[in-house]
């Protein structure tokens, strides 16, 4: 079952199922290591609930909610 990254709760781990963005946004997302198969975890949200902070193996990224909408994930246990 894949869900948009935006709706992944804080603390829940997931695996990226697909990245729907193309163009500049798609490129930036992929360059930062957000590709199919990568393991992510939402570790926090900014005080105004946007952007989100994401943990990938070895580093942390932040991206805006509307950018996270392009990323579908499958929660893992």
């Amino acid at each position: 079952m894949s869900i948009p990254l935006r709706s992944l709760p804080v603390g829940r781990k997931a695996r990226i199922a697909s990245v729907r963005a193309d163009g500049e946004l798609g490129r930036r997302i992929r360059d930062m290591g957000l590709v199919t198969g990568a393991e992510v975890e939402v570790i926090g949200r900014a005080p105004l609930r946007d952007p989100v902070a994401l943990r990938l193996p070895g580093f942390t990224l932040s991206l805006r909610n509307n950018e996270a909408d392009y990323i579908l994930v499958e929660p893992v246990d």
Binding site: D31, G33, F59, L61
Partner: protein, 739 residues
């Protein structure tokens, strides 16, 4: 001239063996570069853009080696300036080898850049930096195995302590020497059954048609074309437009096919395969043990407080306030030394030179002008030291993270907050460091919108004007006026940014995707080098221009002088009155009124003299327009003077109000203002708003030119801000004078 075929004219090729240093932002490039080259470095800007170009000399076994520091990049696409510069410089300089410095803690993503460098074909050697952190995160890397699989040297380093750097340099040099003079050997990665045949076909047709761009290998160019790289496409189309039109058609067909069958783009597939290659590379080489991962833990725990929903913004406010306090209270002392020094210099010239044009030019033009620039130096030094701390510690990224939601509404970026604060977002800042701080924004449109709106803030130089006028017209409410003006600065800056972003700097928001590096202790050396470089750059460029401009301003307020007969008539009148004074009885009513008449005659004369100068004529000529905002010609001259530096407004107003005696201070200026019938509440409000918002001072304009790389934006900012100011001041005046 085309992008890649750079002419080497005027750029003597270095005799020294050259290496280039590449890596992701925050991988420790600057730290390594400094450790390798020490103070033997040279900073400049790549022509036309603000991406820094740094070169230095390192030593290895008694040999000197030139090292080029490439801008930090995550990839080698045409999307960001940093990436374009990085790949272009490699092609132009053809270094012996590229040192790809990786943050070992985020090895997969960092290899993404290294692999792309290898695909380009230049010899690459890999430095696994931040090994101390990687170990603390529970990572272990089989270095010999990785080196074997990639066929390049791999060395572990800790740039902060210098560990491994010399060895890394030595191995890179030896490796590069093996390929010296040979064509590049690109790494070939398989891009799967859908793209491999296309890539092969494209490469062959480019080769057949003789389309190319040495030293870049054809397959790399073909790959870039598949990745939809606009820069390479236009570069190749330059020579053979028909061939490329054909090639483009073919690529479009492939794209359409991929979209239909896989629902994906070539670009995305390429990235997936590249990451796939990296994972297979690391299989058995990299192991992560989660149970001892303390490094991240520490940073996460700090984040739980520092980006907490309520505490986070509070702490941020506190830090911003502290920064401002430190800069302007610590900076005040050396700033006064500079002022005292220039005052002393002025005095020396004053007593040792005979009165005349030359002396006036040296004191009012050169010394005051240059002194004005030098005064900013301590501030800039302090600001950049603190910015270096914010950046190196990782806190800057958190500020952007917390504020992005608000700033985005106005077409800006979370990171715009720092330039705004420094530029006067808290009254007392200075636009120059503010504009320079916009460098930390990696998104070009947001950066431009930020640096063009920073000058709307209530910088320290505007404060004297606010103080003088609010003291006279709003006694007891000075603080409120000050606060209102500071707030107005914010509102106008953000609204103007919104307007710019939907007109002159139109374009979608640059993707925010940003790294939040772990918190790190900044190093003193890094801080000093960073701040020193920026300050020197400011001194060099602003110093030369401001010198010329201050001489021009001085001349405009001194020339042309009144005709001989007017001067004679004035001198005669003065002598006449003086004569009568001498003849009158001391203390008598008669004498007092004569003394007053003398004062008035002198006042009239200096007013006439000023009106006669270029500045005076311009001020008078502007009256028909400025009268709608309630400004007279004296105010216009003051505002013109303020173009050089906002501090000048008060002093010019003093001159314009016949304060020929320079000893008089602003208290008497206040009296003059109070006495002048032209000033009333509406015109004062309009004037203060205008001073807050109108054209940036010359130093700011020079800085804008420097940072945008184009005089066009400096001119734009001049016109745009003045129009905004005029609009708001006139509206305020018209409304207030009617109610």
């Amino acid at each position: 001239m085309s992008y890649f075929h750079h002419s080497d004219e005027g750029q003597p090729r270095s005799e020294l063996p050259t290496l280039a240093l590449a890596g992701n932002p925050n991988s420790g490039k600057t730290t390594s570069f400094n450790a390798l080259t020490g103070a033997r470095q040279h900073v400049g800007n790549y022509p036309g853009i603000t991406v820094e170009q740094k070169e230095g000399i390192a030593h290895c076994d008694g040999e000197s080696i030139r090292i080029i520091d490439l801008p930090g990049a995550y990839s080698l696409t045409a999307y960001t300036q940093e990436e374009r510069v990085a790949r272009r410089v490699i092609g132009r300089e053809r270094p012996l080898a590229v040192m790809a410095l990786l943050n070992a803690g985020a090895l997969e993503r960092n290899l993404y850049l290294a692999v792309q460098l290898m695909e380009m074909g230049v010899p690459v050697s890999i430095g696994l930096n931040m090994m101390d952190e990687a170990r603390a995160m529970g990572m272990s890397i089989d270095v010999p195995q990785l080196s074997r699989r990639l066929g390049v040297p791999v060395v572990e380093t800790v740039a902060r302590t210098g560990e491994g750097l010399q060895e890394y340099l030595r191995e890179t040099l030896a490796f590069g020497r093996r390929f010296e003079g040979q064509p590049w050997h690109p790494l070939h990665i398989s891009y799967g059954p859908d793209l491999d045949p296309v890539l092969k076909h494209l490469t062959e047709s480019l080769d057949e048609e003789g389309v190319g761009c040495a030293p870049y290998p054809t397959r790399w160019l073909a790959l870039k074309l598949l990745e939809n790289d606009s820069e390479i496409l236009s570069e190749l189309s330059h020579d053979k437009p028909e061939v490329m039109a054909h090639v483009k058609e073919h690529i479009d067909e492939v794209e359409a096919h991929l979209k239909a069958t896989l629902g994906s783009s070539a670009e995305a597939i390429i990235a997936d395969y590249r990451y796939g290659y990296i994972s297979s590379l690391l299989r058995g080489v990299l192991t992560r043990r989660d149970d001892i991962a303390q490094r991240m833990d520490l940073s996460d725990r700090a984040d739980r407080i520092l980006t907490h929903q309520f505490l986070g913004p509070l702490i941020m406010l506190g830090i911003m306030y502290l920064m401002y306090r430190i800069t302007f209270s610590l900076g005040e002392v050396p700033m006064q030394w500079v002022e005292v020094f220039f005052g002393w210099l002025r005095n020396i010239v004053d007593v040792s030179m005979a009165d005349g044009v030359l002396k006036s030019m040296i004191t009012s033009g050169i010394i005051d002008g240059v002194g004005g620039v030098m005064c900013f130096v301590p501030l800039i030094l302090l600001i950049f030291m603190q910015i270096a701390i914010l950046e190196d510690s990782g806190y800057m990224a958190r500020m952007a993270y917390m504020l992005d939601r608000i700033f985005r509404i106005f077409g800006l970026h979370g990171a715009s907050v720092v330039p705004y604060i420094l530029g006067g977002g808290i009254a007392g800042g200075c636009a120059v460091p503010g504009i320079m701080a916009a460098r930390t924004l990696r998104s070009p449109r947001e950066k431009l919108a930020t640096l063009l709106t920073v000058p709307f803030m209530a910088c320290g130089a505007k404060l004297p004007v606010f103080i003088v006028f609010s003291g006279v017209f709003f006694p007891g409410n000075e603080a409120l006026v000050m606060f209102g003006l500071t707030l107005t600065g914010w509102v106008v800056a953000m609204l103007a940014a919104r307007v710019l972003r939907s007109s002159f700097i139109k374009g979608p928001a640059t993707p925010f995707v940003m790294e939040l590096p772990p918190y790190r202790m900044p190093t003193l050396q890094g801080m000093c080098i960073h701040a020193g470089e920026r300050t020197w750059e400011y001194l060099k460029k602003a110093g030369t221009v401001i010198l010329a401009i201050s001489i021009v301003v001085w001349a405009a307020m001194a020339y042309p002088g009144l005709p001989e007969d007017r001067v004679k008539a004035h001198e005669a009148a003065v002598a006449d009155i003086q004569h009568q004074i001498d003849a009158s009885e001391p203390g008598s009513v008669m004498r007092l009124s004569l003394e007053k008449a003398l004062q008035e005659e002198k006042g009239r004369f200096s007013e006439e003299a000023l009106r006669h100068t270029v500045a005076g004529r311009i001020g008078t000529a502007m009256e028909p327009v400025t009268q709608y905002a309630g400004f007279g010609w004296e105010a216009n001259i003051a505002l013109l003077g303020g173009l050089a530096a906002k501090e000048v407004i008060v002093t010019t107003l003093g001159t314009a109000y016949s304060l020929y005696d320079t000893e008089e201070d602003s208290a008497t200026l206040a009296q003059f203002i109070a006495r002048d019938k032209n000033w009333n509440i509406p015109s004062v409000v309009a004037f203060l708003l205008f001073v807050l918002l109108y054209a940036p001072c010359f130093v700011s304009l020079v800085t804008i030119r420097m940072e945008t790389g184009s005089a066009k934006w400096a001119a734009f900012s001049f016109v745009f801000n003045t129009c905004v100011a005029m609009l708001i001041a006139t509206t305020a005046y018209q409304i207030l004078s009617r109610c």
